[in-house]
Symmetry: C2
Subunit: 188 residues, 2 copies
């Protein structure tokens, strides 16, 4: 596993990490069961708090779930538009019989606080601890503990799953900061 | 409240309604406390199941929460890009002292199964029942019971909140249906 590669990723102010997730991009979630690393593709996610806290919907139907449950940690990696085919590939095979890092040419990078690897090729990575599992709804509640962003990437557009096999890429940006001033948390 | 306006909205196959939410658009959620209607702007949402089930993060800090909790129902309305200033306006004032339908020129339309109104100007509306409230995480679990879409609208692009007062509009669409075939629920 590469450690030097983390040099590309700059630590991001943790209180701003929710802004990586609020727009609802499709994300990769890495786990480690202590022996091997795995990746799953998830679009059922939600910001729950600015601290940051995130929810993801997953369960025993995902091979990664056992490792997530046991290790109580993971990394949320946020891929850009140009990685879409890898993202779809990761989402349509299983870690049970596939080394997804190898198959899709993704580079695991050692994290600081968790055993699950960051993904070098992604725009951003958030090391997370599992805070709770809401069993009856298959919701895993995560707290982000450190976030990184790779500002050297030219492509910064993320991609959103529609759910029917189509995706939409980030388009035009609009600024409503003045209108929203009263609602923005301090420092954001 | 207008009933005729519902004619613009065509019923959508309920098993496809999750595709309105999976990309993570900012949405309006309407409620009724039996006396008056209200609207809140929410971007902390998640698809939880194809049936469809949705999670939203909200709590007592939102004026709408009391009505949501009491009535156990709401409508998720999905606005398009051209409604952004209304959406931000709705999100930055309170139903405690404002009739938001009146203030922002939005038209309440009588729903079929819930007392909370649909919003005529929105691209889609989903009548929802509150299935559960996960108190310790401020998660409200909703089941969609009927969904409508207004295909007569020219503007169909939704908008995604970044969380820092900026927004991103839907851009280019990409089709990966063939690659994802094995993972798509039947009929989607």
């Amino acid at each position: 596993m590469s450690t030097g590669a983390r040099a590309y990723m700059k630590k991001m102010q943790l209180s701003k990490a929710f802004t990586l997730m609020e727009s609802g991009p499709v994300v990769l979630v890495t786990t480690s069961d202590g022996k091997k690393d795995n990746i799953m593709t998830i679009s059922w996610t939600m910001v729950m708090d600015f601290t940051p806290m995130f929810a993801i919907t997953t369960g025993p139907w995902n091979y990664s779930y056992a490792a997530l449950r046991k290790s109580k940690e993971c990394v949320i990696s946020i891929p850009t538009f140009d990685l879409l085919d890898k993202v779809v590939g990761v989402g349509t095979c299983s870690g049970a019989d596939t080394d997804k890092f190898e198959k899709f040419g993704l580079t695991p990078v050692k994290g600081k606080y968790v055993r699950s690897p960051l993904i070098k090729e992604c725009l951003a990575n958030i090391e997370c601890k599992v805070i709770d599992i809401v069993e009856n709804h298959n919701i895993v509640v995560l707290e982000g503990i450190v976030a990184y962003i790779d500002n050297s990437l030219k492509e910064k557009r993320t991609v959103h799953a529609i759910g029917d096999g189509t995706f939409v890429v980030d388009g035009r940006k609009l600024n409503r900061r003045e209108m929203m001033r009263s609602k923005l948390p301090e420092g954001v």
